[in-house]
Symmetry: C2
Subunit: 555 residues, 2 copies
């Protein structure tokens, strides 16, 4: 008997399966925050729902509650003051364990159906989620809506599709009949049960609390595991809204809501105790190298899926669309003030300059023209504020100040602090652009998260490609780009990225940017260089989250 939610969402699942197999454009969740897509009252309803959370206790009905926690600081300077339940970790673990047996029992189909119902419900709450993402991360509104809601939901659905596909290959039962020559055959009935490995902990990040969380969350859930969501201390609200919705869907469908809980850990030590608990069998993490490496080194009882720091880079060899290239780069470096794991940090430019449709451009021309392109793009304050958003963390502001000190290279473009017309306390910053030499490795060859990029002078294009390969192989990268009119350069860069295992964008001059990754089509991360040990999403992201336990008996 088929699960009613599997039947309800079968067409969506089938379309998602087709999308991951063909990897063309597809999305079931509309990325435009329009009344046509979401209903006439959706925007107002969502804003009201968000406002109603502020200054209140956020009830989740979780077991083992011992107190309340608050303390989020909005990068836009508004008062949040939401209080979240703090629950005893062992109680959350015990409750999660208990919830897994009925979750196992409904099978892969049932779990896929429930997960898609959850995503559907999240989608209907996209405006509330978007406001919560915007106000906790400092993203601009459009990014907060798109990346925070429909695109995050896409990534969650992509995980569900991969998880269902892998599980669908495991037959429920088989008859094994082995001939024995003239004797009767040996005949056995075998049953194959899919069991989750155990509790998954999903550790959220401060900049993309839903987009970076949903892939692991839904991969773990769909493969039969309970999930404890451990949000970033400054981006709890989007996680809490998500968990609340998921728990509601579970309850409505006769399942134990404690399959998904929120763990607001009052300290780093409490988080460490959670992630190293023997019952925790997977940890999904996005964030810095220090804690990420700690997780990999210490959570030996679990599979750790980690997206860490990297040095995203672009090789600029030549172009037949100089202005468009500059516009494209200016947008990439400005978007969310470079507070993306995919923002380019190092642009490798030959010392002798580059050939373009506007003639030869020297290294300094490139520096100056990119500087001008950024300044021009951000010249209108309302555009600038919408694109840049606000500084998510004081550490990023410090890194900007360090970059401007000149310690890391020649300052080509200084960062400006802008006034936000709507949020006077928001800390809005434009990008810093530095120029340095390839030899200055200590400057550009570590991640400097935020709007800090380097134009790196390299001997020539060949050296640039070799440097890109080395940087990516040794320090990691989620994105790489190349601009060239020469086929042999593009081929050499392609081969280099095969070796260093990074996705390559070639000659982006239009409405697609190297730092953007489309669900169902682009693999976000390869899992093959130090920037991430997994990809969102592929078979490897889901296949090791469940195990098959067989039994066999003669019939």
């Amino acid at each position: 008997m088929s699960h009613p939610l599997f039947d309800k969402h079968r067409a969506t699942l089938e379309a998602a399966l087709s999308a991951i197999a063909t990897r063309g454009y597809w999305s079931p969740f509309n990325e435009m925050p329009s009344p046509k897509a979401y209903g006439e009252t959706a925007a107002d309803d969502g804003k009201r729902a968000f406002d109603a959370r502020l200054g209140k206790k956020f009830e989740l009905g979780q077991p083992g509650q011992t107190g309340w926690h608050s303390g989020e600081r909005s990068p836009y300077g508004i008062a949040l003051n939401v209080e979240y339940p703090v629950c005893d970790v062992q109680t959350l673990i015990d409750s999660a364990q208990k919830a897994m047996a009925p979750w196992q029992a409904i099978g892969a189909d049932g779990r896929a159906g429930v997960c898609i119902e959850m995503l559907d419900r999240l989608n209907r709450n996209s405006f509330e989620l978007a406001h919560s993402v915007m106000m906790t991360t400092g993203q601009g509104w459009m990014m907060a809506f798109q990346a925070g809601a429909p695109h995050a939901q896409d990534r969650g659905l992509e995980s569900v599709a991969y998880a269902w596909r892998e599980q669908s290959f495991v037959p429920k039962e088989a008859v094994w009949e082995k001939p024995q020559g003239k004797n009767p055959p040996l005949v056995m009935k075998k049953n194959f049960q899919i069991v989750g490995r155990g509790i998954g902990v999903v550790v959220g990040c401060g900049t993309f609390p839903t987009w970076n969380t949903y892939p692991g969350l839904f991969a773990a859930l769909a493969t039969g595991n309970a999930v404890i969501v451990k949000p970033h201390s400054n981006a709890i609200l989007p996680a809490a809204i998500t968990v609340r919705i998921l728990r509601a869907v579970l309850s409505e469908n006769g399942l134990d809501p404690n399959l998904v809980t929120l763990c607001v850990a009052p300290s780093r030590e409490a988080t460490k105790a959670l992630v190293t608990h023997s019952a925790v069998k997977s940890v999904d993490f996005t964030g810095g190298n220090v804690f990420g490496q700690w997780l990999i080194d210490n959570c030996r009882q679990a599979q750790v899926y980690a997206e860490l720091a990297g040095v995203n880079n672009i090789v600029i060899d030549s172009t037949d669309a100089y202005k468009a290239m500059m516009r494209n780069l200016a947008f990439t470096l400005s978007l969310y003030s470079g507070q993306m794991c995919t923002t380019s940090q190092a642009l490798f430019v030959p010392a002798g300059g580059i050939e373009t449709d506007e003639g030869h451009k020297s290294f300094d021309d490139v520096c100056n023209d990119l500087s001008a392109a950024i300044t021009g793009f951000l010249s209108k304050p309302e555009v600038a504020c919408a694109v840049l958003g606000a500084m998510q963390s004081a550490d990023t502001v410090k890194r900007i100040e360090q970059a401007e000190s000149g310690a890391l290279g020649r300052v080509v473009l200084r960062s400006k602090k802008l006034e936000h017309p709507e949020f006077p306390q928001a800390d809005v910053r434009t990008p810093v652009l530095l120029a340095c030499d390839a030899a200055d490795e200590s400057a550009y060859m570590e991640e400097r998260f935020g709007p800090i990029s380097f134009i790196v002078r390299v001997a020539d294009t060949k050296a640039a490609i070799a440097l890109s390969e080395r940087v990516t192989s040794t320090h990691g990268a989620l994105t790489a780009g190349v601009y060239s009119t020469q086929q042999d350069v593009i081929e050499a860069m392609t081969a280099a990225t095969w070796r260093s295992k990074v996705a390559l964008s070639i000659n982006l001059t239009g409405g697609v940017f190297v730092n953007q990754s489309a669900a169902f089509s682009d693999y976000h991360g390869t899992g093959g260089n130090p920037a991430a040990n997994a990809s969102y999403a592929d078979s490897a992201f889901v296949a090791n989250r469940f195990r098959v336990v067989q039994r066999r008996v003669h019939i």
Copy 2:
């Protein structure tokens, strides 16, 4: 254009894909060493080929050779004196890296075709391989033939099928066309390249040098990686013959033979240097916990797939076929003198005895009857020698002596040393059977590899099931069994094995044994308890051995 070997073996691949999807009985490699299956001269040819290796230098034509190594000691006492090339590790690594680019270029189809050609060629050399397995491991002839040749080849093909299936889901290219309202759509062409993670090292074991090696070897190869085979110091010959055949197939097909090399490491330190090399990205291992755990702890640059020690166990609650149960258990405990990772070590029997078709049997009856069943089964020397084989290692002999000292429990059945009619120097030993109490955990709750089993007195069946779950969860198990006429007992044991994640055999009384695992049908290991962190074979065994590197460009 399709690869000719893909076309040649397409039907085999398709049948293997169907087999892993349905998991009924299937095998392309005949398990009977008969002239009908292998040709009239195959047995003699294979024996001659094996004999011709003895006392000779085994030429492999590998790069960086620095000397020769020998030292295998046959458990059957014959002189082997084969010398193997010792090669510089860095040279093997460099050569392997170089060989990977053309291997990547032929794609998943080409690699599957070449791998199946390799397996086909191994199959034609089954007799030579079987003699080499028998004489290095001490297995009896029939097991050496079946497990060493066709069954190992089956496991290799199973890996190839999984690997090809996962790779087949990655489209070579896609057109991504995103609508932009009234504006023209964004259109990109995307290419997806499958790249191996890097060099795989396959560490062989002393008891099953092909069966336990081929899954990892072919999984790594088929997913685009080079492989360095590091054989057990006492079972080099089967690995060397395998590598030689694989290199020949590569050369014949215009590929670089250094994609597969043999690394005879003169010391444990040399092995450690190999497996921790930064270019090594996967390690497959079968063997003891000490080195296995060392690999997991130290090869942090690689994915480690490890099959380790465990405490395989059986719960005996009741039976309606007492004699047949005893016969089945006697065979299981005797086969290859229990030198299998799947041999049952702990049999849990209620203190109050069990109900059977022959009436109530007390705990002591069960002990005595199993003892008698083993003695009876091994009463004919020729049967005994064929089933038991010879002691693979002196450590196992020591463990038998320790068990007979009474230190671990009451000795129910002593081991006997048998004369082998054909190999007078072979050390042939019958099983030791001990009885102990459930409280004597230090006795039975660690792996005692070899023909040493415990009949453990437990309070009742419920306690036995709980103990089985705890032993498996904490110490690992590859196999579990239950004998019961009660449906509720079988269901409780089933649920326990779901939690402890071990394959369950129910009421085996005929020609299938708990320690046997059929390729394409039984998952060998679940990867979910301490006995193994992976299964042979499933999607998880292959999906993380390759990565997808994309590139995208506007069209």
